[in-house]
Subunit: 97 residues, 2 copies
């Protein structure tokens, strides 16, 4: 079975801040609620390029697209300023193993 | 409980190749065997910066260090040419949610 991982990665950026508590307790629950997704993991970067990340799992690319289209993209985007100034990068992957 | 994710990320690189079958069937099983780790996921990048990735989970930073010290780093490194010319980047994170 194919599983799709959507990773949202926040590059460590000189001078930027990241409110991990807000991200974990407010932002991700809002996004997961809007998308109707329960399978999400949240990372606090300890070492490496990224200061934080979220990883959502979907049964397929179609399920991912459907979930994302369900969300209010404007509201999700507007909430980002509440926890960081970093612009995230997105990665979509097929998971095995 | 804290869970640690060690991600090994292979940046998509112009002209480089990546043998996903070898990585999944040979390289990662060798590394996981040497490290004594069973919790690993392998990604084939569909869209984004990375063409492939592996994510190992450990109970703690100490458990990660112990596992890695168990492995034959030279043999692991020498096997990389068998599947890619891409130099991976490492990310260590604390996982929640």
């Amino acid at each position: 079975m194919t599983v799709i991982r959507l990773s949202v990665l926040y590059p460590r950026t000189e001078g930027a801040t990241f409110d991990h508590d807000y991200y974990r307790d407010k932002h991700i629950p809002m996004v997961a609620g809007q998308w109707g997704v329960s399978d999400v993991e949240i990372d606090r970067g300890l070492d490496g390029l990224y200061v934080a990340a979220a990883h959502f799992r979907f049964e397929s690319i179609e399920a991912m697209k459907t979930a994302m289209s369900r969300g209010d993209g404007k509201a999700i985007g507007a909430d980002v300023v509440n926890y960081t100034t970093i612009k995230p990068v997105m990665q979509t992957s097929e998971v095995s193993g």
